[in-house]
Symmetry: C2
Subunit: 326 residues, 2 copies
Amino acid sequence: MRDVARAAGVSLMTVSRALREPHKLSEETRKIVLDAVQKIGYVPNSIAANLASNRSSVVGQIVPSIRNSLYAETAKGTSDVLRSAGLHLLLADSGYSLQEEEALIGAMLSQRVCGLILHNTDHTPRALQMIERAGVPVIETGDIPRRPLDMVVSYSNAEAAKAMTLHLAARRYRRIGFVSLDTRINRRARERQRGYLAALKSLGIPKDPALIAEVEPGLTSGAHALVDMMTRAPDVEAIFFAGDVLAIGALFETQRRGWKVPGRVAIAGFDDLDILQHTVPRLTCLRLPRLEIGRRSAEALLDRMRGTKNPVRVDLGFEVIQREST
Amino acid sequence: MRDVARAAGVSLMTVSRALREPHKLSEETRKIVLDAVQKIGYVPNSIAANLASNRSSVVGQIVPSIRNSLYAETAKGTSDVLRSAGLHLLLADSGYSLQEEEALIGAMLSQRVCGLILHNTDHTPRALQMIERAGVPVIETGDIPRRPLDMVVSYSNAEAAKAMTLHLAARRYRRIGFVSLDTRINRRARERQRGYLAALKSLGIPKDPALIAEVEPGLTSGAHALVDMMTRAPDVEAIFFAGDVLAIGALFETQRRGWKVPGRVAIAGFDDLDILQHTVPRLTCLRLPRLEIGRRSAEALLDRMRGTKNPVRVDLGFEVIQREST
DNA sequence: CTGTTAGCGCGTTCAA
DNA sequence: TTGAACGCGCTAACAG
């Protein structure tokens, strides 16, 4: 920047202003400075700018897994909105671990991110303390917690699971199975199971342990879950796979075995992955606003930085998509 | 840090050393300082540290699309290796645009990233100039260019496509179709087509325009491409879908139409997405080292930062996976 | 509209 | 083994 100032024959401050507040300069001065910037090939050092202004232009986002396209979708939404506001995304992957999340939060705060987006509503005590001390705006995502840390942009897992269960019941399925990830370590799975059970209760259908399973993530796991449940409870009419790619794994297994869907058993999934509208049969599922969660989170963060003090609590809802598999 | 120094009754410098070079302090001093750090809940300001030391702990990575699980895989590899070295990942999405890539490179250099990983081997002149001026180490990925910018960690698209075409020929398919993304704007697609044509030539099979198609990305697009080609060239025996999820879209279309694969037509894909081993039939494809590309890129960057000056040019190769669809 | 002065919070250099 | 002084590249606050 010094070189630019020298080349343009102005002070450092004028260069700084030419780049950040061009309207505050006379047209000619501005032009001279910007020409010099071009000629020198100057690239501003925003880390120095951050230090001086005590603000940064980076937002940190922590997702359970980058490889999971659902979270990639959310990250894409965040990234798009941030970029159009001139901010950047520091993205990290907690591997579904709270310890890892804590470490990442520490690292991000140490980088002085100007906001944090966490796809998680459980946090370690130390993580909570660090966030509080840092005083940065935080968005929680992935579920709607009773007592949010700060802002929330999400849908309700319990509501969504309940809605799908009721939908299946409305289509005259009575023996409805439910498969999710481990509810002990995954709050989202827990909430979904809660929604399923709430639906059964409201329908007056008794809970049957043979119709409830908790499994590892993955296609293979979904296939096994299907076969296990059909073996344990041969009269099961529909299975609601409330996790990741479980439903697809299960559907492929029915194809391999030549089981008719929904003739032999109906299958419903949770997230509307692209692929679900192309399988044979097309899969009934919930549509969750993955991209929108990312976008709205970023927007809420931007609003807060611009001075809004309103607590944000956005429920983006969901939709039941009825296709051929139920 | 000042608070910590005061609480511990030492100078700022001692605090700094306690955190960065603990072995250079007496044990008791170190202990006093670290206790104070704990008590105060101090989080170091690494942006100030970066400014003072003129180094940063952030690596920038630009991929064509975060939503594409192939790139998410690569990003995951990078992120894992960086984290274990105490560095961070600034991830961005160019949307397959060179202009956007240029803008992102500028933004990242302005953040003074300590390294750049680009999933692309074509760049705008201005991007090249900025990178050169900044003097940061760069990794190019996604193909093996003739004249790399700096370091390369990839596989060869042309070699991979050629290998698959030869593999199909070895299985006695003669009329082999080839579907890719737009070769005019996508160098990787161009290289793959080149590999396909090279294989035909070496086999003495003449090129047939009816057997070559360029389409948009997406499942639907793959389905259309299949039908189009089967209509234009009813005698096509095998189709090699060399792009994204095209092969899966095509396979689902055969299921919908009840076409036998490989009876009516054989199908091969490019990337070994998880799902390909679960479809019915399982899809023959290439296995590309997506995760490994990310890991090795990060490692090469780390090596360079530690002072290695060797030019890096890693060809991680690929593998043909024969399954049921061919 | 433009320039001057004083830091931002740390690391580097040297002296103690 | 420890500490003091200086500066990284920029911006805030003010003065002109």
